[in-house]
Amino acid sequence: MAGSSAANNSTPRGATARATATSEAASGGRTQGRFYTHRLPNGLQLLGQYMPDVQSASACFYVNTGARDEDPAIMGVSHFLEHMMFKGTARRSYEDINREFEEMGAENNAGTWLEFTYYWAKVLNDQLPRLIDLLADMMRPKLDPADFEQERGVILEEIARYEDIPTSVLFDRLLSAYYAGHPLSHRTLGTAETISALSVERMMEYWRRRYEANNILFSIAGNFDWEAVRGQVEQLCGGWGTGEAGRSTTDVAPAPAFRNFTRDDMQQEMIAFGLRSVPRSDDARYTAEVVGTILGDSTGSRLFWGVRETGLAESVGADYLAMDGSGLIIVFATTEPGKAAQTIEAVRGEVRRLQEGGVTEDELRRAKTKLATRVVLGGESTNSRMLSLVGSWLSIGRLETLEEVEEAIERVSVQDCRDFLDRLPLPDHEVGVALGPLPEGALS
């Protein structure tokens, strides 16, 4: 339960939380991929994509809430709550919940991040009615005080676990530095202090406010009967209340900075940069994907040639992280301490060169081919489609077919990349951190 790392491929990147626009019209005529949308009167948004060639279906409840929506005093409540959702409801004990998932042969989990919490499962389609009943029931948790105390221990374990995973510590440090003072600097897991101080009453209050129907989406992809699914969700969730969850979505524009943090017990030095980019709903979001790929894809990118193939870093890469009202290109590299300063210089050099010279026709074509291929490959997985539906709904208020996404990527031009770089020059808001054995200040 509860991956909190943004590097995790299974997390839906950059779901935004605009109170969902509206309804049936958005699905208008897009029957090619058999897309469905429906909005209940209480605001719960249903999304679906029918995939005839599979025997399974993936479904989730996706809540627009995460660490960025928390009062700092109760930081970590979204994630702790996600654990508590498996602990029982008015109709089911935790044993019932875990047993039922197993009896259905489900693959299931949940995840919490800065701006979302979701509960998903994949089952063979004859189990769907039972699965939807279980997931919908879980969304109304019992929040028993004794269970709460018990689970606090597991959360504290999870916090300790992530301390032993350097990439996760590095990522936290980067976001704290880049988003200093902004809710996106919050840690998804919270801290030992906030978790130890949290009360079940505060959690209950948070749940009431954030788990209103109009702050939740239900998404399903695979082999299912839409009328049956819609009817069942309507019947189970139609009585959920409507509220004013909302969210502050101001962006930040930090001044360039760099800081390294010492961890004596580490052998390698890990480095990360945040470069300002566009939010998920921006028209240039596909350009941002393309530029991120050209800069730091795992093979053939500027950083691959300039930093990895020159023998400086063992690994290097960049990813576009699209969020609600904010966006980042995150660059990461791992190297031996003796090469850290040179690696940082090389990364900065590649960023500057891309900023000044823009992209070439050749590398643009290759980046687009890679991205378009990934879109098609991702389109074959029910889990990935289930999350993509949510992503596109929250970004642009409608569902996109795979063909539309491919075309949008294909349309990105050298000039679009130039305009994008001019609009948000990469080095202007470059915030970097490092974690490893080097003494504090050694890389500043």
Binding site: V123, V154, R366
Partner: protein, 425 residues
């Protein structure tokens, strides 16, 4: 006979004169195709002084061939939208890629160039060496990975199956370009190769292309392994000031192809393979001792083991170990219940079917099945085998595997061996 015929239709196969084997699964309703070579060049094939050489050769794989520079090779893959992958494991090295169906032929040509005509580009060798030395250092920073490497090594007690894939700083520093080439000539022989392809494909065309590309591949096979020794009951605890104590426990399982394969898989699921397993309930749900707790089955060609991992703050580590050992004792004495067995069967069957929907997963599944057993079973056959497992079979296994007598524990963290095991191992 009918089962074999059905299998051949679903999984067409072909063997080249030089011994190279092709196994395929054409799939309906997909646009992609996944292809990959498995080659008998894994850590188990290495002599002591060449530890890590399989991975060294693999690291050089995409760094240029006899026909293409690293730049040309990388761009050729990018031109067909491909992000190729490779990995070295204990028993083989794999090179694989997933592409759109229309790009199967160029993808196969590129992948074959990589495995059959490696460049061993002189400039790339020191860079690859450096990267591997960094990877070795990196593992030290990740105790939850390191503890499982240690567990494998300790479990196999000096047998090649316990070899570390990465090798050591000493061996990697000493290996020369000549060593790499000699190793490649020794292990990359056609009889050691399985090419598996799953997804959108035309099998006849595939075979023609492979015949064309691989006919010149030298024949030959790898040497067989010495027998696996009995695991010795012992513990190895390494001190580190980490936030958690990372604990690995192993006891014997069975090999791929064993009649008890699915019985061990089901036993492992009940022990620690789901959020409703015994270990999850006893360690996490009831006692809040750990966040990460679970068991998995790690089969190999001639042996196999069951592996448990737990990560817990040091103050709770001793109790965590005690609870796990208690659960193993119960499982050893009483087996599992009818109810548990039924649930585990449902879960395993469902997972097998749902995972069959991805071309990359299918590619991997048929490759390993063919590799280890020389046959691929249909989903129906697999379901039958799972259903055929009985309570008695699991009880007998529980009593005979050696969960208390042939158990190995490794740990990394602040606690001492005495504190952790209380003398129970």
């Amino acid at each position: 006979m009918t089962a074999v015929d059905a299998s051949e239709q679903i999984f067409p196969r072909h063997r080249l004169a030089n011994g190279l084997q092709i196994i395929a699964q054409p799939m309906e309703g997909v646009e992609s195709v996944a292809l990959g070579y498995l080659i008998a060049a894994g850590a188990r094939n290495e002599q002591q002084r060449e530890a890590g050489i399989s991975h060294f050769v693999e690291t050089l794989g995409y760094q240029g061939t006899a026909h293409r520079s690293v730049q040309e090779l990388t761009e050729a893959f990018e031109d067909i939208g491909a992000s190729p992958d490779s990995g070295t494991e204990t028993e083989f090295t794999s090179y694989s890629v997933t592409v759109l169906g229309r790009n199967l032929a160029p993808a196969l040509e590129l992948l074959t160039d990589v495995v059959l005509y490696p460049g061993f580009v002189p400039d790339e060798v020191p860079k690859a060496r450096d990267r591997i030395l960094q990877e070795i250092a990196q593992i030290e920073d990740e105790p939850m990975r390191k503890v499982l490497d240690l567990l494998r090594r300790e479990y196999y007690g000096g047998h090649p199956l316990g070899n570390d894939v990465l090798g050591s700083v000493e061996t990697i520093s000493a290996l020369s370009r000549d060593d790499l080439q000699a190793y490649w000539r020794r292990q990359y022989l056609a009889g050691n190769v399985v090419l598996a392809v799953a997804g959108k494909l035309d099998f006849e065309a595939l075979v023609r292309q492979v015949e064309d590309l691989c006919a010149a591949w030298p024949a030959g096979e790898a040497a067989s392994l010495p027998a696996v020794p009995e695991p010795r009951r012992h513990a190895l605890v390494v001190h580190k000031d980490s936030a958690q104590q990372h604990i690995g426990i192993a006891f014997p399982g069975v090999s791929f192809g064993s009649d008890d394969y699915y019985a061990v898989a089901l036993l492992t699921l009940t022990l620690g393979g789901s959020m409703n397993s015994r270990l999850f309930n006893e360690v996490r749900e009831k006692r809040s001792l750990a966040y990460g707790i679970g068991a998995s089955f790690v089969p190999a060609a001639t042996s196999g083991f069951v592996r448990i991992y737990a990560g817990t703050v040091p103050e709770k580590a001793d109790q965590t170990v005690a609870v796990i050992l208690d659960e193993l004792a119960k499982l050893e004495a009483d087996g599992v219940t009818e109810d548990e067995l039924q649930r585990a069967k449902t879960l395993l069957k469902s997972n097998v079917i749902m995972r069959s929907e991805s071309t990359a997963v299918r590619r991997r599944a048929i490759a390993t099945a063919w590799w280890y057993e020389g046959r691929v079973r249909t989903l129906e056959e697999i379901k039958e085998r799972i259903d055929a497992v009985t309570l008695d079979q699991i009880k007998r296994l529980g009593a005979s595997l050696g969960m208390s007598t042939r158990i190995v524990l490794t740990a990394i963290g602040p606690r001492s061996e005495e504190e952790l095991t209380g003398g129970r191992i």
